[in-house]
Symmetry: C2
């Protein structure tokens, strides 16, 4: 049983730490972006050093107080809020935001957990390198949270998830010991892979305090285009062509459905659209190329070949950086469009690539069997990762139809599981999907996860109730 | 305490399994390539299905019999032999060697653990794809062992280790339960990363029985060359140039020292050498390029630029497939040359790239302080992974100087640790390096590893004594 982070606890802890480290947690630390859950009350800790983090964890272990780690607060699955249970300590890494080192010649950057993703990208850029993790919330999401949740985004196709970009971590374990694993090595086979166990564990096994991350050379040329396609099968054919032509140089391949474009017309009409008639499907693709190849020419050749094969319909190739930014602005406006329309139920799913067409073929009738609803499906097609979001019919209100959410979720998850897919591709489990993971997860995997949680965090103080039931 | 896999145990187990599954283990299963250790006696199990593997593990758990998993038997750190303790069961996956499926359109192959690496490569090739893991023993090493040891090899620079190439695993856990994790997904954030925990755990946490692996498009053009360089700093400069020019298209970047070439002159004179005068250092580099670029031209441009900058001296670019094969034959002859000369002590180390020059600068004097010895250092420079092997002086015998091995190892490891390196880059810990891992490993990491081992394998039956002391 956990105890609340009450005033006595807060006072004792504050006295043991540098002035200003401990305070009551204001509303900004108690809520999450979609307002689907909140922490009723909490104490806030904002340490400046890994030793202070260790001292805080030891104090929480001694007092049996739950810890909710806090990065940028941008998570979408309630991993950063604790609606039930005794008031926790919210441990924000915001004051540990230093770039500790940039080793450009090694293509390595060492950043503290509280650095925002945009700050890490900027530090890489200043050194003439690329840190490729990129997602809509990069201005506020912090790298510690990106790692804790194994964040994905728009460049996974070429560069992998947060996990694939991390060489080493420094972390505080549930007993307050410090894992000093900030290795800058590309190869290290000395024992179990704790780094990857902590990455994606959503703060339930450790507090990541810093990481050594991979950098990359910047591509000599970047090309960006919108191509319309008849359906997702055509989009996958286009992807295969583009990959073959560029030797894996496709960095982003984003699928967009007409519904998303119509939502923009409705609630964000200022967003510039590339085609006068809204296509049923289109893709935003971006390629990086070595010196000696012109990205515009390569995309034009790709378009011509794909058009001849009947794979693409229309196309626009960005002719300037400003145009490229405008293309991406449309892609990044899609989630905001969704928010303004108001979803009944949102799904972050992934499928084997060859199952996507069947899934998208089946889905509309299955959803229609529940009620007359609108579907906006978009996402990182190259990774098999779709955001499949379900909305009220034109003129309807999500709140009035929220009772349909469980049926919609069950329907979507059943289709996903039947096709060997995942019910959480990049957002994680948090507290939102704990029951679904229990219901649908592999029993041997769940048993092993519980055993690992129990042995590393026997008191259950680390992000209680996230990923696994308390 | 473990019990021996004695005749009674073998008889009972045999009766519960298909005919021919259980037999006494012949010498081929008791020894390892460098003859530095052997299993005195053992029972052999060669199951054909994952259910049989599960039955065997359950029987061993019930009888408290140790299990030594056996792939191709090519490991170099005694992970596949158990010189001490009661006779174990050797569990060979050789009869589970099927390619279960090739999903070319998804770039995925599903292979059983007993398929050799060469068989997996061939199945990928037959589907017009590339499975890039490549190492000298690929004809006999099996993919299950490659995953259990997180194998590296010559293409890690571009494609990553075995870990990076694996999407999902099927594995039997120490209680005999089956982890059914053969996902073909690029993104899946549903809980802790057990896949990566099992990969690289060297058979101490589970028996991997099958894996879903990533395939890649084959490059449109491949170029291969030997360039001479003055020293490793120049080699790293050449690597950076090559990476920038090809947008990360360098697939191999192997450093070779004159000592290795002289060893070949001595014991394998039939190996064709590219330069009449043996250079102090040279690199074998290979690049993959998209359509539209000629690899020969690109390498010629790279050479001209690097020569003008003073980075390279001489160079030879392969003009045919046969010449490319000859280049690689030299690289692959280096370990055989070492074996014939006979090393006193071999080290599979990795370093941050910017520490390599300093290490190689310091090492000769430090080794010379122990005795007059010869050093052959070669390896995967792009990954910071060096094979640093120490030999007797000209005319000397390794056996007569074996007493120097501990001092040499301690000297090398001290230099490596001081520079933030790893004492096992790609070979693993096995039983050979358990004491060194204990001595030099991060205490928090070791404690967490022991806790995980104890909770997943409370009886200690899985590869007893490997990675962690029994």
């Amino acid at each position: 049983m956990l105890n609340p982070a009450d005033e006595t606890f807060a006072r004792t802890l504050a006295a043991a730490l540098p002035e200003g480290t401990i305070s009551p947690a204001g509303p900004a630390y108690l809520e999450e972006p979609r307002r689907r859950g909140a922490t009723p009350a909490a104490t806030l800790a904002r340490p400046r050093t890994v030793d202070d983090v260790a001292a805080i964890v030891r104090a929480c272990a001694a007092a049996r107080v739950g810890i909710v780690p806090w990065g940028g607060g941008t998570g979408l699955v309630l991993g950063q809020v604790m609606p039930e249970g005794p008031a926790p300590l919210i441990l924000s890494l915001e004051r540990m935001g230093q770039i500790r080192a940039v080793h450009a010649e090694e293509n390595v950057i060492v950043a503290e957990a509280g650095a925002t993703l945009a700050e890490v990208q900027a530090a890489a850029m200043a050194a003439g390198r690329l840190f490729p993790l990129s997602l809509a919330s990069e201005g506020s999401a912090r790298i510690g949270g990106n790692l804790a949740t194994n964040a994905g985004g728009v460049n996974v196709l070429r560069y992998g998830n947060a996990r694939d970009l991390c060489l080493g971590v420094e972390a505080v374990l549930p007993d307050g010991s410090v894992l000093r694993g900030l290795t800058r090595l590309r190869k290290d086979n000395t024992g179990y892979d704790l780094r990857n166990l902590l990455i994606g564990s959503e703060g339930t096994l450790a507090i990541i305090t810093a990481a050594a991350l991979k950098l990359f050379p910047r591509p000599a040329g970047v090309g960006t285009a919108f191509f319309t396609v008849a359906d997702p099968v055509a989009a996958l054919d286009l992807l295969a062509r583009a990959q073959a032509m560029t030797f894996g140089g496709v960095t982003s391949f984003e699928l967009i459905h007409r519904q998303g474009l119509l939502f923009l017309d409705e609630v964000l009409p200022q967003v510039r659209q590339p085609f006068a008639e809204r296509p049923e499907w289109m893709v935003l693709l971006e390629i990086g190329l070595p010196a000696g190849l012109d990205p515009g020419d390569t995309l034009a050749t790709l378009f011509a070949e794909a058009q001849e094969a009947g794979t693409v319909g229309d196309g626009v190739i960005a002719g300037s950086l400003a145009q490229r930014d405008a293309f991406w602005a449309l892609r990044e406006a899609l989630p905001e469009g969704n928010r303004r329309i108001g979803a009944i139920s949102s799904h972050d799913i992934s499928l084997p690539l060859s199952e996507i067409a069947g899934f998208l073929n089946d889905a509309p009738a299955r959803i229609a069997a529940i009620a007359e609803l609108r579907i906006n499906c978009f996402g990182h097609l190259g990774d098999g990762n779709l955001h499949f979001n379900v909305f009220p019919p034109q003129g309807g209100q999500a709140d009035a139809l929220r009772h349909l959410a469980p049926a919609v979720m069950e329907c979507v998850h059943a289709m996903v599981v039947a096709r060997g897919g995942s019910i959480s591709a990049e957002h994680g489990i948090g507290r939102l999907k704990v029951a679904e993971l229990e219901r649908l997860g592999d029993p041997a995997k769940l048993a092993a996860m519980r055993a690992i949680k129990a042995t590393l965090d026997p008191l259950g103080i680390m992000n209680p109730g996230a990923v696994l039931r308390r």
